[in-house]
């Protein structure tokens, strides 16, 4: 099967790749662009470990085809920090030990950042339901929820 040429933007950089029409955006990010921050935990859109943004919208990259990225803007965990300055969520996750093994962390950070961009003052329940699509098996979510809530508070106070 012949491959399709895709031009897209990832974390602000213009990139190109050739992909099989059956390959997912997650496959392309990982195998063609060496952006292995997004993880495949399920391949069926249930675990959220592959979360990225597509034109600003939070998606599971395992449910998007690589060819669908044509002309779009993709955001991944690798683009969350500004140069050598961590995003407040990243720092807070370290401070709060909001990760144990860390495999779900990239997806949760991408998802939590998307939440705070549209709702800077979420309730605990809103954070829990927003992150319900991101499975974590290690933490019981307690420290994750606290880290997101506390980051939101810091970011509101910094404005």
């Amino acid at each position: 099967m012949s491959k399709i040429h895709v031009s897209t933007t990832v974390n602000g950089d213009a990139v190109e790749y050739l992909c099989d029409p059956r390959e997912t955006l997650l496959d392309c990010l990982r195998d063609k662009l060496s952006l292995t921050g997004a993880k495949e935990g399920c391949g069926t859109g249930d675990c959220g470990a592959c979360s990225v943004t597509l034109d600003g919208r939070l998606v599971c990259s395992c449910l998007v085809l690589g060819v669908e990225a044509e002309g779009k803007e993709i955001g991944t965990v690798e683009g969350i920090a500004e140069g050598d300055v961590l995003h407040p969520l990243q720092q807070k996750f370290i401070d709060y030990a909001a990760l144990q093994c860390g495999i779900c962390t990239p997806g949760i950070l991408v998802a939590a950042k998307a939440l705070l961009e549209q709702n800077p003052d979420p309730t605990e329940e809103e954070v829990r339901f927003w992150l319900a699509g991101n499975l974590c098996r290690c933490t019981g979510y307690d420290k994750i929820i606290r880290a997101v809530m506390d980051t939101a508070k810091d970011m509101r106070e910094a404005v």
């Binding site: 993880k39 495999i103 420290k143």
Partner: protein
């Protein structure tokens, strides 16, 4: 120098909460997990799996797959070592593993590997699988533990039972354990109330978010390199070498960052297959499981069928306890029947106790360890009966547990006498906790439970090397599965007296250290921690020797204090403290590099107890249960990094909530797994759970230099029972079967009228 004293207070570093050393890697996507490795010229592997629960493999034709241009190798069982001999029972564990990673004569469960392909792309490999023809003769199957013990059950493997199984039992019963003491019949006769009941739990999966993944290279020279996500790379090295018929030392295994394991990554599944493909193709092969493969073909925990009988006096004194535990461990020996039986009554001081465990084979995937294997099921059954006894006798559940609690000197239900243990302290902390006296709303119930786990030592080897600038690198052999690098650095900092930030902890590969047991048994902070402390003390001895030499005084006149060599007393001489970095700066000229090393199989892993308090709310219309409040109280011995200890407590509780309320392997009549994706096998999500409160009790373990007990596993022992007790109270009906899913609750409510 009194270096071997037990230190339990006045810590400078231990007990603080610094950021983990690998934090930046893990929040930026930089950390490399199993599937994140690539090699030049790498092929992609894929595995063909049996769609049948039990079938004889009559013929495998791989010719059409091999004819594809993109396919570079196809392997079947014939491509593995023929030197791995079959031996009945548990003696043949290498053979069991080989049989599990690639089926021999028979496919033993839905998902059992039968062939594998390496191709130039993952898609090409998957396409090629469709061209492999397998002719099966379908055989009768059994997936239920009780049915597998019946006389007419199909036999999974004749001759698999070991010496412990009495004559006349079904061949699927492969091991029996019996232990206890006293006279249970006499004990029951003394009781004012005896309750006997039956309980079941379903198989659940560890549910780590990272599927198994590896990158294997094995050349014609018999030398190999393997990168994989594992809880222990030495066992991977040893097992793969045996299965491939190469020498252990010729295979170097490097552990990737690991995306969760919980016991499920303590053995091999795809690694020998990837190596066999690589040897045949003479190229590196990457093999990554799909989620469905993880559910179908890697080890869930055992399901259990249990009979419990306990006698109690009106004042709450336990007079006798008896339990029969049947554990289904899939198509191989190894179900944790012994652990289940041995843990069951461990929290209680009993004059009369007897426990029997049966390890039973069925047509299901080979079970693997899951966090305190066996203990949560046993606690569910036992603590449910104790709860019911308290209810019927009108007794306080905490007071009854305190009255009967195991203490220092108690003869444990499984044999030995307990040393210093912290069960009473967890119960006292529960009694004092505001959760226990908080009012409940209508429709809510409160449950408590105790839990127990042995904890483990295991082979451990650690090296510590000092740098000229006074920083230290620590090499440990236990994969960091939840922040253990931070704990190791804290313990090394405590001994060396240098800043935490100046210590880098690395998980060494198999070529760098001697054999290290797996990151399991809650052993890492205990055993690797102990070895890190002793390796650091070894380095300190050498530092003191250099100072003694410089000062011209005997080495026993030098002691180590706050990161400096100092004279041990006024008679030793008057010298300014000599900081570590001043000694290492010119160590090349004063005797050579300074390293510390320690290796042993430490035997002093202190056992651990916990008490959990849960409030649950049951909706009688839908049968849905919500956990509204949860408190974990557990003895950590000494919490090296309290935040990560809390994390272990919270994680264990959350997994227990899933097991109690929702998770289960569901098999159809055809013996096929019905729910092999996360949508259908639903682990707790953020909106399912409340905050999980934690209380760290610290009763030092005399077997660790700083008093550490492992904490990882005990946290999953009480939740099943505590939640069942809370749900039973809320619903007004005793729940005897897990999971307490909405249909089960509705039918229990209906049966109760």
């Amino acid at each position: 120098m009194a270096l071997d004293d037990l230190k339990t207070k006045d810590f400078a570093f231990v007990g603080t909460r610094p950021n983990r050393p690998d934090g930046l890697d893990k929040v930026t996507g930089r950390a490399k997990f199993g599937a994140d490795a690539y090699a030049p010229g790498m092929l992609h592997g894929a595995i063909l799996r049996s769609p049948h629960a039990h079938a004889r493999i009559l013929r495998i034709d791989t010719s059409k797959a091999e004819a594809l241009k993109d396919v570079k190798a196809v392997v079947t069982r014939a491509d593995f070592s023929d030197k791995v001999e079959f031996a009945p029972g548990l003696e043949g564990e290498f053979w069991n593993v080989l049989e599990n990673v690639m089926a021999g004569d028979k496919a033993l469960y839905d998902g059992h590997a039968v062939a594998a392909v390496a191709a130039t792309s993952a898609l090409a490999a998957r396409d090629a699988l469709k061209l492999i023809e397998v002719e099966y003769e379908i055989l009768p199957h059994v997936t239920d533990v009780d049915k597998a013990m019946l006389a007419d059950a199909p036999v999974i493997r004749e001759g698999a039972a070991d010496y412990s199984v009495p004559a006349g039992m079904h061949p699927n019963v492969v091991r029996m354990h019996e232990s206890g003491h006293g006279d249970v019949a006499a004990g029951f006769a003394e009781a004012d109330l005896v309750i006997e009941d039956h309980f079941t739990t379903e198989a659940t999966h560890q549910g780590y978010i990272e599927p198994h993944a590896c990158l294997a290279t094995l050349g014609m020279d018999g030398k190999g390199e393997l990168w994989c996500c594992t809880q222990g790379h030495w066992i991977v090295q040893k097992t793969c070498a045996a299965l491939l018929g190469i020498e252990t030392a010729n295979l170097r295994v490097t552990a990737s960052e690991i995306g969760g394991g919980f016991g499920g990554k303590t053995t091999v599944f795809i690694e020998p297959v990837a190596l066999a493909l690589s040897r045949k193709a003479n190229k590196p092969v990457k093999l990554v499981m799909s989620r469905s493969e993880v559910f179908r073909a890697t080890g869930p925990t055992a399901s259990a069928s249990m009979d419990i009988k306990i006698g109690m006096k009106k004042d709450g004194t336990l007079t006798a306890a008896e339990g029969i535990f049947r554990l289904q461990g899939g198509a191989f020996p190894g179900g944790p029947a012994e652990f289940t039986a041995m843990c069951a009554f461990a929290p209680y001081s009993l004059s009369n106790v007897r426990q029997v465990g049966y390890d039973v084979m069925t047509n299901r995937p080979k079970q693997a360890a899951y966090r305190a294997p066996g203990s949560p099921m046993a606690a569910f059954a036992v603590e449910s009966v104790i709860d019911e006894l308290c209810n019927q006798l009108g007794l306080d559940p905490i007071e009854v547990r305190l009255k009967n609690a195991s203490r220092e000197g108690t003869k444990a239900s499984y044999g030995p006498r307990f040393q210093q243990i912290g069960l009473v302290q967890t119960l006292e902390a529960a009694k004092a906790h505001p959760h226990l006296s908080a009012p409940l709303k209508p429709g809510q119930g409160r449950g408590i439970s105790c839990g127990f786990w042995f904890n483990h030592g295991g082979e451990t080897s650690v090296s510590l090397a000092l740098s000229e600038d006074g920083s230290a690198q620590v090499m440990v052999g236990t994969p960091d599965i939840g922040g253990s690098r931070a704990s190791m650095a804290l313990m090394a900092a405590e001994v060396l007296g240098i800043p935490y930030e100046n210590i880098r902890v690395t998980i060494a590969d198999t070529a760098t250290l001697g054999y290290n047991d797996v990151s399991h048994g809650s052993r890492v902070t205990y055993a690797s921690g102990l070895a890190t402390i002793k390796a650091a003390r070894h380095a300190v001895e050498k530092l003191c020797e250099r100072a003694a030499k410089k000062w011209g005084i005997p080495v026993d006149a030098v002691k180590w204090e706050n990161g400096c060599a100092v004279p041990s007393g006024p008679n030793a001489g008057d010298f300014d403290p000599l900081p570590l970095a001043d000694i290492t700066a010119n160590m090349g000229q004063t005797g050579g590099p300074i390293s510390g090393h320690f290796e042993a199989t430490p035997e002093g892993a202190g056992v651990s107890f916990a008490t959990h308090i849960v409030d649950a709310e049951v909706d009688p219309e839908t049968g849905k249960t919500r956990v509204v409040r949860y408190t974990v109280i557990q003895d950590a011995g000494k919490a090296i990094h309290p935040t990560y200890v809390e994390g272990q407590y919270q994680g264990g509780a959350a997994q227990g909530i899933g097991w109690a309320l929702n998770e289960e392997y569901i098999y159809g009549e055809d013996g096929r797994l019905q729910n092999s994706v996360f949508l259908d096998y639903r682990i707790p999500v953020a909106s399912d759970l409340p905050m999980i409160d934690t209380v760290i009790v610290e009763v030092p373990n005399p077997g660790h230099p700083f008093g550490v007990r492992g904490v990882g596993e005990t946290s999953i022992c009480p939740p099943l029972a505590a939640i069942a007790n809370a749900v039973s109270a809320a619903a007004g009906v005793r729940m005897r079967n897990l999971p307490m899913s909405p249909p089960r609750i509705l039918s229990a409510l209906k049966a109760d009228g």
